[in-house]
């Protein structure tokens, strides 16, 4: 099995005493110390403000995965609305909004592969999204 590590470093001086957090975790299959062995890496260009499935449950064969999504845009006003549920024919139905990824933002989270991860661009101009799935 493969060995894959994810490390997060947070540094903030918002508070008077600065915050510095650093943690590394090995990506394992659910509840084990066995490393994940599958990786998907995709770059997509979206050209509509319709909500669409970005990562469908059928693309992963396990019930536990790790997801990285990145908005590589240099424009801080352009964002993707990330939701979880099932995109309904291009309309925002039956989904729960997680949050907005503005230009330069990324997110990393565990996914239970019960519902699709959906995305809605803020503009119909071409917007690039990058994502990786480890399972």
């Amino acid at each position: 099995m493969a060995t894959t590590n994810a490390t997060i470093d947070l540094a903030s001086d918002i508070t008077d005493s600065s915050l510095a957090v650093s943690n590394t975790t090995e990506l394992n299959t659910a509840g084990t110390s066995t490393g994940v062995n599958t990786m998907t890496s995709v770059t997509k260009v979206l050209s509509s403000t319709n909500q669409v499935d970005l990562i469908a449950t059928g693309s992963v064969s396990t019930t536990h995965a790790y997801v990285y999504i990145n908005n590589p845009s240099d424009d801080e006003t352009l964002y993707f609305n990330i939701t979880i549920g099932n995109a309904g024919g291009g309309s925002a139905t039956d989904t729960e909004e997680i949050g907005r990824l503005y230009g330069g933002d990324w997110m990393w989270f565990p996914w239970d592969v019960d519902d699709d991860i959906c995305i809605t661009p803020s503009t119909s101009d071409d917007m690039t999204v990058e994502y990786m799935v480890f399972s």
Binding site: D13, I14, N23, A30, G31, S33, T77, I84, W106, M132
Partner: protein, 144 residues
Amino acid sequence: MATTATLTLASTDIAGDPVNVSKVATLTKAGSTNDLDQSSGLSRVHLRSTTNKVLLAANAEGDNLAAKVYVINKSDDASLYVTITINAQTIGKLYGGDFMFMPWSQTDTSASIEVAATNWTSSTGDIPVEYALFHEDTDFLTNA
């Protein structure tokens, strides 16, 4: 005031060639280059409830504003997990050592981030969870 979040993904053997991804985000207010200026600081709780408990209460005033959430399961036991939920929608499970970092749209007061120590038992011991919120909502505490 600046806050940066850096994610590094590294593997030498999950693919034919080494994987090394490193991405830095500077946390800013929605749609601007102004830094986020409010933080909960780093908090720690010990979970022993198998049912959902509110970790971060949503404030509808935060809708369309920027907020970033960091959560980590600090358990040393790889089998113990914390289920992360928003408005009854399960996002995923954080097993021992796992972390998450995501934007949070507080679409309404139902969009609280909830956690459950789903497979906790009296013999497993508590599951320590640490979390931090970085945000711009000036009235955040009014809904606490």
